[in-house]
Amino acid sequence: MASSKLVPLADAVDRFVPDGSSVAAGLCLEAMIPFAAGREIMRQGRRGLTLIGPISDILFDQLIGAGCVARVQAAWVGNVITGSGYNFRRAVESDALVVEDHSNLSMAMALKAGAMGLPFMPMRSALGSDLFSTNPGLRRIACPFTGETLAAVAAIVPDVALIHVQRADVYGNSHAWGCLGVMRDAGLASRHVLLTAEEIVPTELISRDPNRVVVPGLRVSAVSHVPWGAHPAPVPGHYNRDHQAFLDYRDQSRSPEVFARWRKRWVDGVAQPEDYLGLLGEERMRALRLQHRGFSEPVDYGY
């Protein structure tokens, strides 16, 4: 009865990530990062984006290096296993990028406020820190009941959330599992949700376990089928983290020149998501696939 939302990733990005959008991504922090969607944004040469997320590993650094980004609202931007993100550093140090500093909790609460339809949320973090100096979405308030000093975090309502999941149907119903980070609240907060999925499955496979749905289908605008769509980040049930790719990226981003070569090879040279797998190579994919399985016990939703 509903209509299909399944479209090629290029179409989804073209339609739902225009220039100037605010884009939430990296919402599970270190896992399930939507790297394929990020590459498509670079390929389409998007400009003036605001990137939103707690910790995106190197995704934000890539988009910043490609010139797509005007502003970042994040708790941490870099390379999780090597430290600094060099494109990010260069952009900030040359005043090419506005940064609003968050902590993981302030980002979680800003997105929770967005998800709940509220203009702010209170928290007890960040008090005494200099996050207040760069982030206009932080203020000190007094609790209306106890008088205690609290921090208030302004809601963040992204234009679009890029979310990678394990399996989805064509209507945007999906299952995600593992560490969920701020995925649930970011998906609910955003005006559009663009799903990339390892597998497209029949609706009944999703509806047989409705507690496994993290972002409900009615809030999803587009679904794209992108196997290995989070590589080099890990995806529970599918593949491990490709640590070598993150180590390599450190060297591939040290200067604008080497980054341009990285971009040519891994982004511009890859017209279709399938081509990326060819570039990656079967041997590398084999090494990343799960070696030990760990299946859940089914549960019964009968009546």
Binding site: W76, I81, R241, H292
Partner: protein, 256 residues
Amino acid sequence: MPAYNASELMICAAAREIADGEVVFVGMRLPLLGFLLAKATHAPRAVGVYELGVVRAETAPAPILTMGDLPNLHRAAWLADTADVMGLLQSGRVDVSFIGGAQVDRFGNLNTTRVVGAGGAATRLPGSGGACDLACLARRHVIIMAHEQRRFVPQVDYITSPGYGTGPGWREREGLPRGGPASVITTLAVFRFDPAICEMEVASIHPGVSIGELRSKTGWPLRISSTIIETPAPSAAELAMIARFDPKRFWTGAAG
């Protein structure tokens, strides 16, 4: 005595900060290895909490480099939202957390956001991640970092993770509900804080390090505990266990 490097010594010191049965907000790198070492030795009932939304009481079944690595999710005790585990932290249910830093001052204020060089040029660092939250909200937190003069400064350029601010009473005035740094583990020494003045003092000095070296690499007049000891060196058993958790010496390699 077995050979070891500064990273291994710091991991052992970090492990000693964890008591059995405590809830530990783990973090990355050396603290992660310190937590695993504590679990394998004196604190088998310690529970690990990770900001991705992970709680686990058992050691991961394979070595991990990041908290999001799949072995860290396998057979976890709880996989939830970041907000859920941050709720544990904010409601005072996390006993101890670990934070790294680029700059620290005598009151344990920590900077991982922006460092201003001698010439006035600013270097941008990755930022807080969860560090600010841990420094604000854990019952106590432990700082782990390299000991260099440019890092141990009279005043940090940006407070990413609040310590004791300007001294006694500052956290209360700012509205922080509890906590503060309990210790600072560096490549040269372990510091603890004198509660009367909220300033760090040398509690133990690593084998082979002189007080003079410590003073020369610290940007303020150093206070030394009257009960100062030598930091215990790692035992062979501890080193073997660290090697099991970091088999490729990714975090404990030559760089130290």
